[in-house]
């Protein structure tokens, strides 16, 4: 690893000042699981690391106006075991539980995972399906982006030098809705997904037909992505094999996976259809339970 300055500001404003001072040469660090690994591999060589560990107020999980707000420093493990998250958005707690190992989840933070922008990560997939928004602070003030706007490319976000992620706000599911996160793992339980899918289904008042569905996918493109063509096929439909087949086929056309040791591009494309079908089925069943008031 190269030599670098290490700064531990005690307040957000101080962190922003240090970031401005060092510009592109600075990197924000929280848990460090991604950044330190990349530094060890000489993939990044920052001149200054700005640790957020002593910045107060970034580590809270709160319920706000029909949403959950997770501070950037909340660890994956905290999000996983939080009673608030488990009760209000079990799909999100379950998604964090599927990341790597407890050891890594003790270190890795919610904000860090977003800023890292590796399309193989799990939480961004569920956050994208749930319509989460990222809170960003910089010298120019505060701004908020949808995840679709935030993720730009492989390891690339809309963050500009001097900015950092402070929180993510996740809307709760509407009535008569269900959500599922599924991770296809042909190798080991702590691996990145070969294909990851998060699906939400909101039902019409009849408790059967789909009013709106969202499908988000991970590990099959340069960013986590929404399969919008596939989603559009679901409006007004009842759950059934022919619908799922058509939606799966459509989703295959919306992904652009790379061949790697987790599977060939062709295989990942095929498995996208399979996993989308499974995730929708589970989300639909959860939505029906919710509509019947049995959830």
């Amino acid at each position: 690893m190269n030599a670098f300055e290490y700064r531990v500001p005690r307040a957000l404003d101080e962190a922003l000042t240090v970031l401005r001072e060092y510009g592109e040469d600075a990197r924000v660090v929280a848990g460090g699981t991604a950044l330190v690994t990349m530094m060890r591999q000489q993939l990044v060589r920052p001149g200054c690391l700005v640790s957020l560990r002593d910045v107060q107020g970034l580590d809270r999980i709160e319920a706000v106006n029909g949403a959950l707000r997770l501070g950037a420093l909340v660890t994956h493990r905290e999000a996983e075991v939080s009673l608030l998250v488990r009760e209000r958005l079990p799909v999100l707690a379950e998604t964090f539980r599927r990341v790597a190992t407890i050891r890594i989840r003790h270190m890795a933070t919610v904000g860090g995972a977003l800023a890292h922008a590796d399309p193989n990560q799990d939480p961004p997939v569920t956050l994208l399906a749930l319509g989460a928004r990222v809170e960003i602070r910089g010298a120019g003030g505060r701004r908020e982006l949808s995840l679709g706007e935030f993720f730009r490319d492989y390891y690339e976000t809309a963050l500009v030098p001097g900015e950092l992620v402070t929180a993510v706000t996740v809307p709760l599911l509407s009535a008569s809705s269900g959500a599922t996160f599924l991770k296809f793992l042909p190798r080991s339980a702590d691996d990145y997904a070969t294909v990851a899918v998060a699906a939400t289904v909101a039902l019409e008042p009849d408790g059967e037909r789909c009013r709106e569905a969202r499908i988000a996918l991970g590990s099959v493109g340069v960013t986590p992505l929404r399969a919008r063509v596939a989603e559009a096929l679901l409006s007004g439909q009842r759950l059934g094999e022919s619908v799922l087949r058509a939606v799966g086929e459509a989703a295959k056309g919306e992904v652009d996976p790379l061949s790697d040791h987790r599977g060939s591009a062709e295989y990942k494309r095929e498995m996208t259809a399979v996993m989308v079908g499974r995730a929708l089925t589970q989300a639909w069943e959860a939505a029906r339970r919710s509509a019947r008031g049995t959830l």
Binding site: M1, N2, A3, F4, E5, Y6, V8, G32, T33, V36, T37, M39, R40, L49, S51, R53, R77, A100, T101, I102, R103, I104, H106, M107, S188, A189, D190
Partner: protein
């Protein structure tokens, strides 16, 4: 670029001057001479470098030493009291929970953290907790057995 950090390691406070790029693992091994924690994969996957930071297990190979400034670290060297092995260590010995031994410090530290959090874990809970500690020789049955034995022995 160096920094003086204060670590409480296994109950003893140390002031150490480290380069900012020093990993916590290297600091423990080379600055403090605590070579129980091992470097296996170097990317946080294998678990050989597992230590507890303020009681929570982490991968010390991808944590910088400066992250631990002002915090408490527990390594495998801190488990035994005087000459008496920790119940988890004794159970690994009694149940044959290791062969070559390189993964063992990490296994033992993770297992201790498990029993601290869940004193009487189900096998499913044990497997989920331990899934990030890889063993390339003995396999996992004996490790699970050792943890089961340690939990039984620690029961009041």
């Amino acid at each position: 670029m160096t920094r003086v950090i204060r670590l409480t390691v296994n109950g003893t406070s140390h002031d150490v001057e480290v380069p900012t790029y020093r990993t916590l693992l290297d600091c423990l091994r080379y600055d403090l001479g605590l070579t129980g924690s091992k470097e296996g994969c170097g990317v946080g996957v294998c678990g050989a470098c597992t230590v507890l930071l303020d009681g929570k297990m982490i991968s010390s190979c991808i944590a910088l030493a400066v992250f631990a400034d002002g915090r408490a670290v527990t390594t495998v060297e801190g488990l035994a009291e005087d000459e008496r092995l920790h119940p988890v260590q004794q159970a690994f010995v009694d149940s044959g929970g290791f062969q070559c031994g390189i993964c063992t410090p990490g296994q033992v530290v993770s297992a201790k953290a498990l029993l601290d959090a869940i004193p009487n874990p189900s096998d499913a809970e044990t497997r989920e907790w331990m899934l990030g500690n890889l063993c390339r020789c003995t396999g996992y049955y004996k490790i699970i057995e050792s943890i089961r034995a340690a939990a039984q022995r620690s029961r009041p």
